[in-house]
């Protein structure tokens, strides 16, 4: 009886089906996080190299004087010393010796770190712990962003690309974006955020003054526009007085 039970148990082991989740074969033997065009162009140091990170991964590109982190599904084109941010989210850690440009920006540079976000309609630049200098296409002057501020760049307007007034970037918003791309350790990140907090306070005060000046300017412009409108209305009334008088006379209104 026991022997037959053992034989039965032995047989059962053979009928047991073990299901194992299949592991996907590595499509890119050299780099699982990104696709390069031409193949292995970063390693070969090709003149023109396009890099795209895969969905859900980030790709760090380190060269002499350049440290760029690509967020999920982001595309960048490196043309010798020129870098074009094409699509997605980027964290620029270092860009000495390289010139950064985008579809809307002629140049973008910083001595510290910056975040650049490209969406369907707008692009946003986040200055983290240093000033960011940028120049939109069609604009002759460079703009300076204070640390801990951000700038939204819209579509083409009557005078080049439309840029909003710089905004102070909140902790929560920055941590959410910055932590996703930050390539170093947690301690380094916390140290950066500590510096950011101090910068945030200083920039907040400076931006407050700028907002006030801007509001004063807008009020003055509005007043000037109102005055002009009033004057033109008066002129219109005066010039059409003849017609008005004729109308009133004919219709016995007054």
């Amino acid at each position: 009886m026991k022997t037959s039970l053992r034989v039965f148990l032995f047989f059962l082991f053979f009928t047991l089906e073990v299901r194992v989740k299949a592991q996907q074969l590595a499509t890119y033997p050299n780099d699982l996080n990104a696709i390069e065009l031409p193949e292995n162009c970063l390693e070969k140091q090709s003149a023109i190299c396009a890099v795209k990170s895969h969905t859900g991964t980030k790709k760090s590109i380190k060269k002499n004087g350049l440290h760029l982190v690509l967020g999920s599904n982001s595309v960048v084109e490196i043309n010798q010393k020129q870098i074009k941010l094409i699509k997605g989210h980027f964290l620029v850690m270092e860009n000495s010796g390289y010139s950064l440009s985008t579809r809307k920006l002629k140049s973008l540079s910083t001595h510290g770190e910056l975040l650049y976000e490209i969406s369907e309609e707008n692009s946003t630049v986040y200055a983290i712990n240093d000033h960011v200098y940028l120049q939109t296409k069609g604009d002759l002057e460079k703009l300076m962003l204070l640390p801990a501020t951000s700038l939204v760049i819209g579509k083409v307007g009557p005078k080049g690309y439309i840029t909003d007034f710089p905004l102070l970037t909140t902790y929560r918003k920055l941590i959410q974006k910055y932590s996703q791309l930050y390539p170093s350790t947690k301690q380094d990140f916390l140290a950066q955020m500590h510096v950011y907090r101090n910068n945030w306070k200083v920039s907040g005060e400076k931006l407050g003054k700028l907002y006030k000046d801007n509001a004063d300017l807008l009020i003055a412009q509005q007043k000037a526009a109102d005055l002009k409108r009033k004057q033109s209305k008066e002129w219109l009334l005066k010039t059409n007085q003849g017609l008005v008088d004729l109308f009133r006379q004919k219709n016995y209104i007054k």
Binding site: T27, I35, V75, V156, G157, R229, V244, K250
Partner: protein
Amino acid sequence: MVSTTRHCMTRGRHQSVSVPLNRCQAYFADALRKKRPIKPKNIKIFQQLADKPYMKSQVFIVFCLTIAVGTFQAFKVFETHFSGLNELKREKSILQAHIEHKELQYELASYKLLEMQNDVALAMNLIPKKDIKSDQKYPLRRLASVTQTSLSPGYLMQLAKRHFLKGKKLFRAKRYDEANIEFTKVIKEYSYSVHVTESYFLLIEGLYQSHRYEELIGHVDKMVSLYPESELTGYSMLRLGKIFEYQDRQEEASGLYKTIMQSFKEHDVVRQARISLRAIQI
């Protein structure tokens, strides 16, 4: 567990009988308790059997599992080797890489196109979107998709438009009193809106339909003062002329029509005024 699998042999009168180990132990324990002498041959047999090697059940299970896993692995290797699955997987990965390369190429090309569109839009300055509605200007309209007048949505203008459209809807539904409230809002609260002239005109029409002629005259007066050059002012004056006609004030009506004919250049307004004047004269 041990007691059920180990056995010791005890000899009966005629043959050897296999009894479980615990029974052997019970035999010795009973003999000790009753102070009965233990037969030396029984001690010897027990010792021999206790030292005899045997297969534990755990070992048996491990053995079975090893065989099972080994066979399963061998089967998988055999299956993958002969089914060509590895080949297919390799092909799939190559194709996937190819597709992703193509996608990247497409993204780079799209970027260049969009960049060019933006550069052209910049070079052309702002393209007024309202001027490019016709089908012939499709490329221009595509180009205009990258342009924008302002980042701020112009809430006030949007609100004015909303009131105006609401008024228009009510006017079409012949709910003139409610429509007039909306048009009055547009006139008073959003005086810089592009819909003010039209609001005045529709307000006058609404008042005419509601037979509120006194108010109507006041609004026509305002329209003449503020927008004397507008075609809609001419139409409003025509409406006033009609009121005079209904009130049997023929002379005043004809005077008004003549004023319209003198003051407006728009063909339709002048023609309407002329027709109305002839009707009075007949």
